[in-house]
């Protein structure tokens, strides 16, 4: 059987564009005499469509699109993902479904059973879990068709009380097809391969796994679609972070006509070992994910140009370099806004960076505006000493300048805050926390340095023979430069310690006792956890953050603002 995997990037709610993409792939597959083509989960409307699913009009449009696509599914079987209606009175009104189209008809529908409702996922908000299961007959074969999480209910701590593949196996299927929208994180890659392989080892039939690709606001879907033969040899692996249309031949005996990429023995079984924090973790994947995240955010929002505040520090340098790669250097405008507290090297370093990257930049000193603010506030502030208020005025003046230029010329302001500072609230709301998209907000400070080194190693020299990110930006001590001789280390522990404590608390969901038992200073742990919880109100107003870790600030981490835990 000749099967095409269509690993595509969809735009949520853009039915015309998604449909066009799907039909185009069907046409290509048909021209190559394919038997079947497989698209990813919710390919019709994009994933996650969130509360758009509450609109009858939105669901109607999904069915219209399926009707249109059906006409192209004449001699070829087509599997697409879309919501389906629950005909039963009790329960939610929708299913998350895979539609099997053939001979211009809907020949079968598989409903998703295991509905992820954790982290960034809210599927129980919209869908009823499947309560009927059946295989699909197609050209003499019996197919076990499932949706994403339905093949994830394995291992030591299964999240669900039903295992749909166990039920489907009673119908003796010839092979499995799973359509997914499974997002990237820098610990997830091997988990996924292991999980999918575990199904093949358990059920002893081939598995075709088609995943979505593309970024949806903050969530990166990385593709990486896979095919395992009946012996659990990995025979096909589509690229990460890219669209691809791939043909495979699945033989009647459960083998695949393709050289084995990884033999069954080489791919480890199910391992969900907790990963301890090392800043180097898959840094090249993190880089690719962020590039895709920037690219898709701009194109899906209908923008092409970014503006970024350039401080001469590591965070803005890495953000600018990433933006230049994603959008083209001519589309990235850096704004240097020195104050009286900026060191001379800050401006030099920031200028050198943009000279290396060849992106446009401007210098707008903030001294006069800042002084005018102080002047206006004099009757209220009287002669109170310099403090956080004065620091924040500077940061917010910069935010105002950046947004003004963005508004004037149609830029999106990219935010440069890293995860370490967002965690402890070391940033100014409406100041350096302003922006439409958080580029580094899911990377700890040490990871930002790793990204800088990776960027320099990728493109070692500019035409002028220099490293892209000037060495001085990487080696100097981090500073907000909002008061004389300020250093991050005045207020925060070294990032080598801070990042590890944060990783335990945020990614690994460890409480104070467990973190202290790892040998960290008890008072420091208490102080850091309190800072994280206290600053929920700030992060709550932050822009979407490109998600690269297993636990990003944003839709995947939901804490009460008025809570008083560890506080």
């Amino acid at each position: 059987m000749k099967i095409f995997l269509a690993q595509q990037n969809y735009h949520i709610g853009n039915f015309d564009k998604n449909q066009e993409k799907i039909i185009e792939a069907i046409q290509i597959a048909k021209s190559k005499n394919a038997d079947l083509i497989v698209f990813s989960e919710m390919s019709i409307c994009g994933y996650p469509a969130r509360d758009f699913l509450d609109f009858k009009d939105f669901i109607d449009k999904c069915f219209e699109s399926i009707d249109n696509i059906k006409e192209y599914a004449d001699t070829i079987g087509v599997i697409v993902g879309a919501p389906d209606i629950n005909p039963v009175r009790e329960g939610k009104n929708l299913f998350n479904a895979a539609f099997f189209l053939y001979e211009k008809e809907i020949k079968g529908i598989a409903h998703k059973t295991c509905l992820p409702t954790y982290d960034v996922f809210d599927e129980n908000r919209y869908f009823e879990p499947a309560y009927n299961w059946d295989t699909i007959e197609f050209k003499g074969k019996n197919i076990a068709l499932t949706v994403c999480e339905d093949i994830w209910n394995l291992g030591d701590n299964p999240l669900y009380r039903v295992c749909p593949m166990d039920i489907l196996m009673q119908r003796q299927p010839d092979f499995m097809i799973n359509i997914s929208a499974s997002p990237f994180d820098y610990t997830h890659d091997e988990d996924r391969k292991a999980t999918i392989k575990s199904n093949v080892l358990k059920y002893k039939i081939p598995l075709i796994y088609c995943n979505a690709v593309g970024s949806q606001t903050e969530i990166i879907f990385d593709g990486d679609s896979l095919v395992f033969d009946k012996d659990a040899n990995l025979c096909c692996q589509l690229p990460q972070f890219k669209e691809e249309l791939k043909e495979i031949i699945l033989n009647d005996d459960g083998t695949v006509d393709a050289p084995v990429i990884e033999p069954a023995a080489a791919v480890p079984g199910l391992i969900f070992e907790p990963l301890y924090f090392t800043p180097e973790l898959n840094i090249s994947q993190v880089y690719e994910a962020i590039i895709l995240g920037i690219k898709d955010y701009f194109s899906k929002m209908g923008f092409s140009k970014a503006i970024i505040g350039s401080s001469g520090g590591i965070d803005s340098a890495v953000t600018i370099a990433l933006a230049c790669e994603a959008l083209g250097k001519e589309n990235v405008r850096a704004i240097l806004m020195p104050s009286e507290y900026s060191s001379s090297h800050s401006v030099d370093d920031a200028e050198q960076l943009s000279k290396n990257l060849e992106n446009p930049y401007d210098i707008i000193p903030i001294k006069n505006i800042y002084e005018e603010f102080l002047d206006g506030l004099k009757p209220v502030f009287n002669n109170l000493p310099f403090g956080v208020a004065e620091e924040n005025i500077q940061a917010r003046t910069r935010g105002n300048l950046l947004m003004a230029i963005a508004n004037k010329f149609g830029y999106i302001l990219l935010n440069t805050s890293n995860k370490s500072e967002l965690a402890v609230g070391y940033g100014t709301l409406y100041g350096d926390m302003a922006g439409g998209l958080g580029v580094l907000g899911d990377c700890y400070k040490l990871q930002v340095y790793e990204l800088a080194k990776y960027i320099n190693s990728k493109k070692e020299t500019t035409p002028a023979g220099r490293q892209v990110i000037p060495g001085n930006i990487i080696t100097k001590a981090p500073s907000a430069e909002l008061r004389p001789d300020q250093k991050d280390s005045d207020s925060l522990p070294p990032y080598e310690i801070l990042d590890k404590i944060l990783y335990q608390y945020i990614e690994r969901v460890q409480g104070p006792k467990e973190i202290k038992s790892l040998g960290f200073d008890a008072a420091l742990v208490d102080r850091i956890l309190k800072l994280v919880n206290r600053n929920e109100y700030k992060r709550n107003q932050f822009c979407p953050i490109i998600r690269v870790s297993p636990k990003a600030f944003g839709t995947g981490r939901r804490l009460p603002i008025v809570g008083n835990y560890l506080d």
Copy 2:
């Protein structure tokens, strides 16, 4: 049987304080020889605790607290709400549970079956639905104990496939107790009474319903605990928006020793009719809810003083009046920040308002700062004509001034944006959209006028014999005053039309076809819906909004930012 209902206001994660409150009520009930005292859902840790529930340490603290409270449950039965551990390997690790404490032991635990996962609720994210049900024997009585939503699975379109009360009735209980954390909205009051009554009509045994009170960030729990006798007469109704400890006597024959407040016939059966928008809808309740929302946000965040930008317009006037009522006039500082585009009456009206309310205010003109911004931007802006960028600079200058004063003196900035403008994006990010709490963000513009009239009617004259909110603020045409002679009506349809279209789209989740069929202009509907969807990115960075409607912007409404639906 003498039963106490403890309608209390908890602080999420503040175990000591919640425990103290619970023990204090138990002591009072014991001193009056009560048999039983009932606390609300998740009384131990506060509701909703969200992802704090993912921390083992948090769950341990819940059990420690139950252990402590148990010691006081010697001669009295005590029902408290807390998470419980799921002993089964498959499924989520926790239940949402009601613990029955007596003779210093946990005598029974009821797990919640129907887990709300819609609007602001995420219970499937944390909890496994109950799969075992039993009644609880206590002093010769058989009690059907349930948690909140478990008695809501009635009516035409039940959300769940299981009805736990149907199962519990097989054990022939003598009466029902339901512990809840059921939030307020301005359409919900009668629904709730009708739903609870419908259970009594169906099962023909008395029902004791204990609801939480208090605001948790954006969600207002309004109390309104109820007792129905076996004949569905309403015999006891606790106040809305207030804590109360109430004694009732439930007789062996299912009657209650209390005068009937509403006879069975007077309380309507189950009605879930969609409500059409009228700005007057329960405006006194909206007022009380907002007052509680402000009060609790400040006290739970550990603040006492608010700062508010005072423009002379209706939104800031109503916000300042509400804040004065909630926090005391001496704790509300108004800042008037006129620009060259401010009309003279704006400053006069804003001053008059603060004179009427007797709250402190300052005037800080923004002209010089604004001009310094324009000066700094001249090399970048060249001589491009005045536009949105210049308007936003003014709004963001005001945001910066307000935040600077807030930072200096420890105020929380209260935001004055109304729901109509938040919906269509008629506001400046980091400018008038700045603030820690959205006071009016769930009230349409027409409702803000109703609030103003209500405030004036409540406290008709100040000591000087004037209405609190000056008449001119109510009668003049709304304007942002960011360019010469600007009026809201330059960019937006009349609020009488806009608000109704928005209500259909947001609260009633109607699509473009349905809204047009109500007679609104088709092009206008398309334009408005597009504006709402396009401005998701702005609202995503907005502060929490005190929720008073059935569909507020915030955790209860989740839309993709990069979506392209109706856009």
